[in-house]
């Protein structure tokens, strides 16, 4: 078991290096000059532009730049932003808490909603409640998050004037009114992300429960005279959760991806919005760093999902 985890960790490192290489190569070979916005300004003479290129190290061949970038990043130095001239890691540290707060709460909400919904839907299969839950789940993940966001804004901000749709990142939470204000501005992004994930997780939970319900051990538990709730919760649910927990872990990077869209709609200053802004301004160091953070998250949670699977299911032997 321990050896399996160590081996899985060791595979993750070359994967990350490969991803960083692919990404850097794409950025370096792309036909866009990172200095194009300086180039568009006629007041900058060509010699000065060359000087800037030299100062930023852009005149070196890209494989050399890649090695420098990777070694610097491994030490926590993400470079300097072309646009704001501040350190990229500062920019990211400013933005990351906003994203983590919205994404984290959204994911917890989705799990809290999805598990009971999936269980009820599977246990009462083909009953009216199951049809309602299944239809909602289907609708939930066919609804594009950006459309859900706009609809929520239309209803709660424009029609009822209950909530603001401009996120204020300067808001400090120090007492109850400010906490309520924070909740009021975060509730729509959280709802949009959370409902989308809840829909997907509900379907997985239901499918997994349905696979386990007709098995022999369930009949044995029933014939021992156990109560329905005990059979469902401590027998069927425990076994059904193994694939679901894996899927919960695998879904985390997708939620961060979804955060890109939600942050754009609600103007949440998170790292997703940072990525879209930096792409718009051609700020290559920031783009590279943010994409790399997404890649690290993806690899980490894939790893976490595999390890969860190994820990939760003792029937699987890893050698």
């Amino acid at each position: 078991m321990g050896r399996y985890i160590v081996r899985r960790l060791l595979i993750a490192i070359p994967t990350l290096i490969a991803i960083s290489f692919v990404m850097y190569a794409i950025l370096a070979l792309a036909p866009i000059d990172p200095l194009s916005q300086f180039g568009a300004d006629p007041r900058i003479p060509p010699e000065a532009r060359e000087h800037i290129r030299h100062a930023l190290g852009l005149d070196q061949p890209w494989p050399i730049r890649y090695v420098k970038w990777v070694t610097a990043m491994a030490q926590g130095d993400f470079g300097v932003s072309f646009m704001s001239h501040s350190s990229v890691s500062d920019l990211i540290w400013q933005r990351l808490p906003n994203t983590l707060w919205v994404v984290g709460v959204a994911y917890i909400v989705s799990v809290v909603v999805a598990l009971p919904a999936g269980v009820i839907s599977a246990v009462r299969r083909n009953a009216a409640l199951d049809h309602v839950i299944s239809t909602l789940a289907y609708a939930g993940f066919s609804f594009p998050t950006f459309f859900t966001g706009l609809v929520l804004i239309l209803i709660f901000s424009i029609h009822f004037h209950w909530l603001t749709f401009l996120y204020d990142s300067n808001l400090q939470v120090h007492d109850i009114p400010s906490f309520i204000a924070e909740l009021k501005q975060a509730i729509m992004p959280i709802a949009v992300l959370g409902l989308f994930d809840a829909a997907i997780l509900t379907r997985y939970t239901r499918a997994s429960m349905l696979e386990n319900l007709p098995l022999d051990y369930v009949r044995t538990a029933h014939s021992k005279g156990l109560r329905e709730s005990v059979v469902v919760i401590s027998h069927v649910l425990r076994n059904s959760l193994i694939p679901v927990v894996t899927l919960i872990a695998l879904g985390v990077p997708a939620v961060f991806g979804g955060a890109i869209v939600t942050e754009q709609i609600f103007h949440v200053p998170g790292i997703g919005a940072l990525l879209v802004d930096s792409i718009g301004t051609g700020d290559t160091p920031v783009v590279a760093a943010v994409v790399m953070i997404f890649a690290v998250l993806q690899v980490l949670f894939n790893l976490f999902a595999d390890v969860c699977y190994a820990v939760l299911d003792p029937r699987i032997k890893y050698s």
Partner: protein
């Protein structure tokens, strides 16, 4: 009496013999048509596809008729979906946008399915290729899809627009990036089917009579491995339409004068307070198409899975 009975049983026997053989696809269609949701999805999707194909030919307004007197109007008889900030008819734009969105969805899925099937078939059939190809699949599976899509679109948009033209260039690029980042699940499905099918007796028999590898792959194994691919393809169309809309919504899709469903939503953002009807119809179109596609995919899965039949 006896003769009549003999005749009767004889006619039953003849009936049984003359009844057309039930094929896999005939069976699948039979099961599929019993699934009300899947059928409803199929009808809805057919209706929308026909509407976006022929609608722009019939509908009197075009996507570029500017009428400032009628800007930001709600739905009316003349403009059933209202108008945008320049007074352009939104129904015309939604119909035209549907063409683009659905075309992107279908093309992207065709390309990614072909790519995934090819890689999966090679990995599953030739054991030497299995490990390297599957490591490649794992690498692609650990790429962050949406951030990379944004970066790729941003980097290659201008070059492709200049070389092939604004609309075709963006179309090729969006289809390309969606396919490159979405072939992996299909490759895994196809590889798994190939691994189990290549051990079967009929493949051995084919090899014994001297069939070439290509013939075994295309004539014998591939047809047996196709049904999960078909399901994945159907559901993939919905995913690709969502991805294209997301890109357009973030302003990284088609140029502003080409309406797509996502682009219409992106444009509507500034006018939410004055024109709440604007995002409603394109958004509902995306929702309905994706929902229909998902229901069809689920119906197909049930219909094509022989284990579910009793």
């Amino acid at each position: 009496m006896t003769t009549a009975q003999v005749e009767l049983s004889g006619s039953i026997a003849v009936d049984a013999l003359s009844r057309p053989a039930r094929s896999l696809w005939g069976d699948a269609w039979y099961t599929f048509t019993r699934d009300k949701l899947a059928l409803a999805g199929l009808f809805t999707l057919t209706f929308i596809v026909l509407a976006v194909l022929f609608g722009p030919l019939i509908w009197p307004h075009t996507i570029s008729d500017i009428d400032f007197k009628a800007s930001l109007q709600g739905p009316s008889l003349d403009h059933p979906m209202g108008t945008d900030d320049l007074g352009r008819d939104l129904l015309a734009r939604v119909l035209y946008g549907g063409r683009v969105s659905i075309a992107v969805g279908i093309t992207a899925v065709l390309v990614s399915i072909t790519l995934g099937t090819a890689i999966g078939a090679f990995a599953g059939y030739f054991s030497k290729l299995d490990n390297p190809l599957m490591r490649l699949t794992d690498l692609f599976l650990s790429l962050p899809v949406l951030p990379l899509l944004l970066v790729l679109v941003y980097l290659f948009r201008d070059t492709l627009t200049r070389t092939i033209g604004p609309v075709v260039g963006i179309f090729v690029m969006i289809v390309g990036v969606i396919s490159i980042l979405n072939w992996m699940p299909v490759a895994r499905l196809v590889r798994a089917s190939f691994l189990s099918l290549r051990q079967r007796e009929f493949v051995e028999a084919a090899r014994c009579v001297g069939s070439s590898d290509a013939r075994i792959i295309f004539r014998h194994i591939l047809p047996n491995a196709l049904s999960p691919v078909l399901v994945a393809a159907t559901i993939g169309v919905g995913g690709a339409i969502l991805t294209e809309s997301t890109l357009s919504f973030l302003g990284l899709g088609f140029p502003p004068d080409t309406p797509t469903w996502g682009r219409l939503l992106y444009d509507s953002q500034q006018y939410l307070e004055f024109a709440p009807h604007w995002p409603l119809f394109p958004g509902l179109c995306i929702f309905v198409v994706v929902l229909a596609v998902n229901y069809i995919g689920d119906g197909l899965r049930d219909a094509l899975d022989p284990r579910r039949k009793i």
